[in-house]
């Protein structure tokens, strides 16, 4: 049954569309110019990821934002395939920051859909625990000393904790659902 329903949704019906979405997006830091995109496709042609993945198409992401396909976008795991190389940002003839748009969409996915790749929760918890996004263990410190390197700077864990709280990030990550892999 669900298989059939999914197929019917091949046609985008008017009710799926959130015409206000693009305005909301254009107020977010990094996605301001999304409405200027005229779909030339330079970003996709430039994209090193798109060369090897048929799911990740930056132009299509911009189009979906313009059209207001918020739900489809936020449940699209391909968003997490952007490698942040900024080639698209540099080459866009309309100065649309596609990588910025993708970042905003990722933020929204975390905030509204409460979904995030597992790796980010791991990095975040490391950061909260030790100030570094990777777990620096005793072994690392010993090794450094052995190599004649100075001791690592001490993290201010209190501040980090606070920053997580005031920026709302702690709440964002609370009860978030995780997944491990994104298909390419």
């Amino acid at each position: 049954m669900s298989e059939v329903q999914e197929k019917v949704s091949n046609v985008i019906k008017a009710k799926e569309v959130d015409p206000k979405f693009k305005y909301k997006m254009s107020k977010m830091h990094g996605a301001e110019k999304v409405m200027l995109c005229f779909q030339c496709g330079t970003c996709t042609a430039d994209c090193p990821i798109a060369r090897f993945s048929e799911f990740y198409r930056p132009r299509r992401i911009a189009r979906m934002v313009q059209f207001g396909l918020k739900d489809r976008l936020l449940s699209d795991k391909a968003l997490w395939l952007c490698s942040n190389c900024f080639t698209c940002v540099d080459h866009c003839p309309q100065n649309v920051e596609i990588a910025g748009i993708v970042r905003v969409l990722r933020n929204l996915t975390v905030k509204e859909n409460k979904v995030i790749p597992l790796v980010y929760t791991v990095l975040a918890s490391n950061l909260l625990k030790g100030g570094y996004v990777y777990e620096i263990r005793e072994m690392h410190h010993k090794k450094r000393a052995g190599l004649g390197l100075p001791p690592l700077p001490k993290p201010n864990l209190e501040d980090i904790e606070k920053i997580f709280q005031i920026t709302g990030s702690s709440n964002l990550l609370k009860g978030v659902e995780t997944f491990e892999k994104v298909e390419s």
Partner: protein
Amino acid sequence: MSETKYLLFLGCVIPYRLSSYEISTRKVLAKLGVDVVEMPEFNCCGYPMDSVNHDLMLTLAARNLCVAEKQGLEILALCNGCFCSLNETNKMLKEDKELREKINGYLKEINMEFKGTTEVKHLVHVLAEDVRFEKIKNAVKRPLTNLYVAQHSGCHLVRPTKFVEHGDDPENPKMLKDLIKLTGAECVDYQDEARCCGNPIIGVNEEVPFEMAREKLDHMRVAKAEAMITVCPFCHLMFDLNQPRIEKTFNEKFEMPVLHYPQLLGLAMGFSPEELALNTLRVKPVKLLEKLRTN
């Protein structure tokens, strides 16, 4: 006789996995008379958290900037990712008053304030623009003639151009190339030099980054490079640590040693391979060292 002094920002990956980069950098900088000061306190640059929450990234980065401002020093970043987030945040907060107020609102909670009095530099910028070529050239004691290497500057050293003001060409980065030439080695041109290594998405997908890195390795091999030179721990991991797995996945052999730039420079300045921690590389530069010995 130190003329230049920076606050060294190590980031997370280097202490976790790539001491070789840190060791070689410290050795080389000391000899070039660059003074590095350790961060009095540290937190992650914020880059990995950008996807989670943009404000979080900005605030984490700004906190580091505040620490530097307090010290009255410019930041020297070794990692492209750290450079990107710190530099970008620094530029944005300086230019965008509204954003600055918002972030300062957060910082107030931890008794800090971003003032916009410092700068962020990458190791490459410090060497090329502050130390200057002349000085480096003079420090080269054992020119690495007859050695052919390929450079990989990585994305965040040159992009987005909007925030990187060091005059390097994002389509064809030259700074690192010029620095390599100072060591006496030849820097070969290869196809798509400015393309990404793929590392940032390795946490969610391995197939695509492996394909990307393989393609780059292939292009370098075609250009007859004997080693690859990086200036970013992420790129280095992608090509060095993952090289055996890439070889296995695609059933090809590259055996391409990947050196941090300070390792290359260090060799030219007369340090021994051991002093530069060349032995800790995954792809052993056996042939390369052999060649240098017989040179």
